[in-house]
Symmetry: C2
């Protein structure tokens, strides 16, 4: 079957007014990419039934010439300005009905709040409605039911709630199997590797271009730039081709390659029963925040010190006045002394210190804005120190520094397993 022409539509005046950013469409595109499909267009529309209907009518016309898959989020809620169902009914000249299962779910929610079925407002009840003869997509997280409507030959319009948690659950559990059924195709394999402190263009020039002929036949590749690292994504129907690419990548970049460091650090610290503590200057808490993003981090994250001022570096972490005045707060000596100080106070297995100049002020000729020293005390008692000059603005430098600190921890944890 021909690959469908895919359009993702987000509805919501809050999006087109710039009050909130549509992250649903990108997430869906990513999921579709993993299913092997590329998206032709994103559209975002305000909550305006005429604009939405005219856009859907255009897609229905297009579906007369080729298979179209339109995936729309938003407009299924209980408020006045939710127009999706009404618009789809008008588009296809259909009536709607209330899905029994959803009605029961909604009633239970009301009952749990001490109310009863008759208290439910019509606009709220509308969330349980779908067009006649559609494919229903159950909502396990919220109330509004999703659905798949025909749009033409091999063409479909998918409507899902705009609430990300509801949409994501619905997409993964309900829509993905349905799409695989509607558009059967061979299974794609995907591999992702991270490369640290290297630019996207340099990677393209030095790896992709150089190996284009030998490695990249039947392989789709992509790259995304992040703070401190790029993600290199490869996709193919032939898993052995991906293996070859990843081996080549590891051979070319042995010192800067990693898997997802956030996931690895989290799992490794838990499974090896290791603990960690931090001491942060320029990142002001960002490293601690990242280390505690995942549930269960209390098993390894002991605590930390935000030693923003020199006084605090002295009083909390015992960095000597001498070191600070002789080498400065941003120096190998201070980073190292901070790491030792963290250990003295916490006895954690790993102690990470960060001290740097996040800017925009405070840079000098010898230590420009972006200069960062990272100290890492490992369980063997050694203290590593690493220096960087990170690019970007204040936010970028702080993100770079905290991510790179996690990469250093990743490398040290990996080393143990060799």
């Amino acid at each position: 079957m021909e690959t469908p022409y895919i359009v993702i539509i987000a509805t919501g005046s809050e999006i087109t007014a710039g009050r909130s950013v549509d992250t649903n469409s990108g997430w869906i595109a990513n999921q579709l990419f993993e299913l092997g499909w590329k998206v032709k267009k994103f559209i975002a529309l305000p909550d305006d039934p005429e604009l939405i209907l005219s856009e859907l009518q255009n897609l229905k016309d297009l579906a007369k010439t080729k298979p179209v898959l339109a995936i729309m989020t938003g407009g299924l809620g209980p408020t006045e300005d939710d127009y999706t169902l009404e618009t789809v009914l008008k588009l296809n000249g259909k009536k709607s009905y209330s899905v029994e299962k959803a009605k029961i779910r909604l009633t239970r929610v009301y009952e749990s709040r001490g109310k009863q079925y008759s208290d439910i407002l019509p606009t709220v009840l509308r969330q349980t409605h779908v067009p006649e003869d559609c494919k229903i997509l159950d909502n396990n997280v919220g109330i509004a039911v999703g659905f798949v409507e025909p749009l033409g030959v091999d063409s479909y319009l998918v409507c899902m709630p705009g609430v990300p948690s509801e949409m994501k659950d619905m997409f993964t559990r309900r829509l993905t199997p349905e799409l695989k059924r509607l558009y059967p195709r061979e299974n794609l394999v995907q591999k992702t590797k991270w490369l640290w402190n290297i630019g996207e263009s340099l990677y393209q020039k030095d790896f992709v271009e150089k190996n284009r002929e030998s490695l990249f036949s039947d392989v789709e590749w992509g790259v995304t730039a992040n703070r401190g690292y790029i993600k290199c994504i490869f996709q193919s129907n032939y898993s052995e081709k991906l293996e070859r690419i990843v081996n080549e990548l590891e051979k070319q970049y042995p010192k800067i390659i990693s898997d997802d460091v956030f996931a690895y650090v989290h799992e490794e610290l838990i499974s090896k029963k290791l603990t960690i503590a931090v001491g942060e200057s320029c990142t002001g808490g960002l490293l601690g925040k990242k280390l505690t993003d995942s549930p269960g981090s209390s098993t390894y994250f002991v605590g930390g010190f935000l030693t923003y001022s020199n006084e605090m570096k002295e009083s909390l972490l015992g960095v000597s006045h001498n070191i600070l005045s002789q080498f400065g707060a941003v120096s190998l000596e201070t980073a190292s002394s901070m790491a030792n100080g963290i250990f003295e106070k916490t006895k954690a297995d790993y102690c990470i210190s960060i001290t740097g100049i996040a800017g925009p002020d405070g840079g000098t000729e010898s230590k420009p804005v972006g200069t960062v020293w990272i100290g890492l005390k490992t369980p063997d008692g050694q203290v590593q120190t690493h220096s960087y000059i990170f690019p970007g603005n204040r936010e970028g430098i702080r993100e770079n520094a905290s991510n790179t600190a996690l990469f250093l921890l990743y490398q040290s944890l990996k080393q143990r397993n060799i």
Copy 2:
């Protein structure tokens, strides 16, 4: 003149593949809203010249029926897959020329890297090109020149670089005056207030609906939901109408209303020469990170303690074993004791402690997930404590807690000035 039909277009395969989120369109829509215009549609397209051309052709056709303003970002860079200029030339049957000023700028950049004009690749030089007879938009941040092309009667296509810093500078300095010239209209006034720990729908019901007739004639309003607060935005050509609304809002919600607390806290701490230190449990560094987001925060942010474990609460902040075992780590007593401990170690004017259950595990019947205690020691030596049950997932609860802590600080700083 008729208000134009506004479409914002973002080009870039990284967007439609879901590898990066388009934040430009939302930012532009927000700026346009402040100019008094609403956007009809966002479109995002991959780097595919045919798709881009067909979309622009559609807009050119539409411009035969009404004034159209299309603002496009991306595709002006130096790589193979930058197609914007080429597509616009094809659309309007024009040739391009190299803007002298941009060429000089580019040459200087090359010279500063020890290279010369002849080293510049044609694709790089292309960034200095614009269509004949267009309105040029200078780029003060990067190389690629932006431009405004006619699209029909009172209709224009604006092309700007996709790099946010370049686009924003170009929009503000170059495009805004041009738009005001092309589409003259009276000046709008805008006011924004924040309301804390109240839902969007409750605000709409209790304030907007109730005052719709008396307050909201000739006033556009909007609301955006954030972690812990909603932003209430009002717009009108009559500033006295906005005054009345804001007064009414302050009267109705005296205890939960604020201005931008991040900006206020930053400015107030600097101007009053006050210092602050933090002690964080469940937020793991997020409050410290927020307090150091802005340049110049080193003048007030002394430092802090990430006391994730009970042991650290005892050893770093001197919370007694007794308090922890009798009342628990998430309690008034612990929050208060942490705030005092921060003061002991830092002598900061304001000391904020946060301790709570961010989940998903760790909740109990009496202290469900989302329970958070915040302690605030003020310069008069008093310690306030506040408890909350924040909604949302782990990330939401942590964002809520740290933002609300800043709101408490805001209130205390405001109090001093009464």
